[in-house]
């Protein structure tokens, strides 16, 4: 496993406590995570080099005294830990067909009804007979079925690569307090030794 002691590159615990929030965690590459300090646009959206994400308070988590939103790169909505866990449990228990059926039902309702309220009414009405999937799970599926921002992200990515758009962007969160604390200890010892000679204890020197 990985090394235990680290000065740089570890999870920024103190930054989480002391930075203003919210902080967003984005799953970028294959099993790779990035942290960003969110600069809110109109209180609801966040612009990063990967595109625009939506801050939805329903899926906000509290970690180390700060707000945390978890995103997958391909969805503008934050990930619900409970929702995705439930779906994985269906896969684990060989009940993935339930999810497929529900998604198909949501699809059909969206196609048949242009009014979202009518579509939702049909979806929730049909779901009443289901015992395995709760209405909260259905809501999670609807959220993920109807919000998607793939093209929006790509629209701004190319131009961002050419320039240096620092202003207004959500910056990354890296751990720098551990190095500062370590350096502080070292410098403190140096200053202490400057005024106090430890050899005096043993009667050596002047």
């Amino acid at each position: 496993m990985a090394k235990r002691f680290s000065l740089k590159g570890q999870w920024p615990v103190l930054e989480f406590n002391w930075k203003r929030g919210p902080i967003i965690l984005i799953k970028t590459g294959d099993r790779h995570l990035e942290l960003k300090q969110a600069n809110r646009i109109e209180g609801k959206f966040v612009l990063t080099k990967y595109g625009v994400f939506e801050l939805d308070g329903e899926h906000e988590y509290r970690l180390s005294n700060n707000s945390l939103y978890i995103f997958n790169l391909h969805n503008a909505k934050p990930v619900s830990i409970q929702g995705i866990e439930k779906i994985q449990s269906f896969y684990r228990n060989k009940q993935a067909s339930l999810i497929v059926k529900e998604l198909a039902m949501i699809n059909a309702a969206l196609k048949e009804h242009s009014d979202p309220l009518e579509a939702m009414e049909i979806v929730f009405e049909k779901n009443k007979a289901q015992t395995n999937i709760s209405q909260d799970d259905i809501k999670f599926l609807i959220d993920y079925r109807t919000y998607y921002k793939d093209d929006v992200g790509h629209l701004i990515l190319d131009r961002m690569d050419d320039k240096n758009p620092l202003k207004g962007m959500s910056g990354s969160v890296t751990a720098y307090f551990p190095i500062l604390i370590f350096a502080g200890i070292g410098i403190g010892i140096t200053i202490f030794l400057r005024f106090f000679n430890p050899l005096k204890i043993f009667g050596i020197g002047i």
């Binding site: 496993m1 999870w11 625009v52 503008a76 830990i81 994985q88 999810i99 620092l166 604390i181 200053i191």
Partner: protein, 202 residues
Amino acid sequence: MIWPSSNDWGLVFYGGPLAHILVKKNIMVSKKIQLMRDYFVNEFGVFKIDSETQYHFNKQAIFFYNAHDTRFSKKIAKKINKLYAKHKDLEILEILKANFKEIQNTESIFEAFEKIIEGTNHYPIDLDTDKYLPFFTARKPKGTKLLMEFANQGTKAIETLYPSVIPKLPIIVVMVGVLVFFLIYKDIPEWIRQAQQFMGVG
């Protein structure tokens, strides 16, 4: 500013595997992982790790879990970790059997861990929604319109930007520079005098 908890201070210099555990509805806690093959134990219960759900923040391994409101004695969890380091599996099994009814017939600790996890559902959570919900192609027109508006605003704003001419100095370099200056500034006049003597100016 809120002072970090003792758990947070314990993670400041920690670069090993880390578990983010959802302990209440939206409260997450970061915990160190002390591995026992594919399992680990802490005060929230027994958890399983899976290489498929091992995320990386730089080089640190990160896992996500939901504790499902389960609690375990902190003292017992510490004791189990210590006993595992000493290879005392039988003692661990005894402790587990005393605390969990469903594992009375198990013969190894890993079999017992697996059974406990089956009951508590402490499997790692995969954030990869694409893997489990593979076809999100439809859009909510209103939501997409709103996002497009913001994206257009962003594109216009980017057009007006230009690359920074003066590179930014990292805060650590600045702080170290200031501290070094404070350490040596008293010696600087002496050094200048010596340099002048050396050059025969003074």
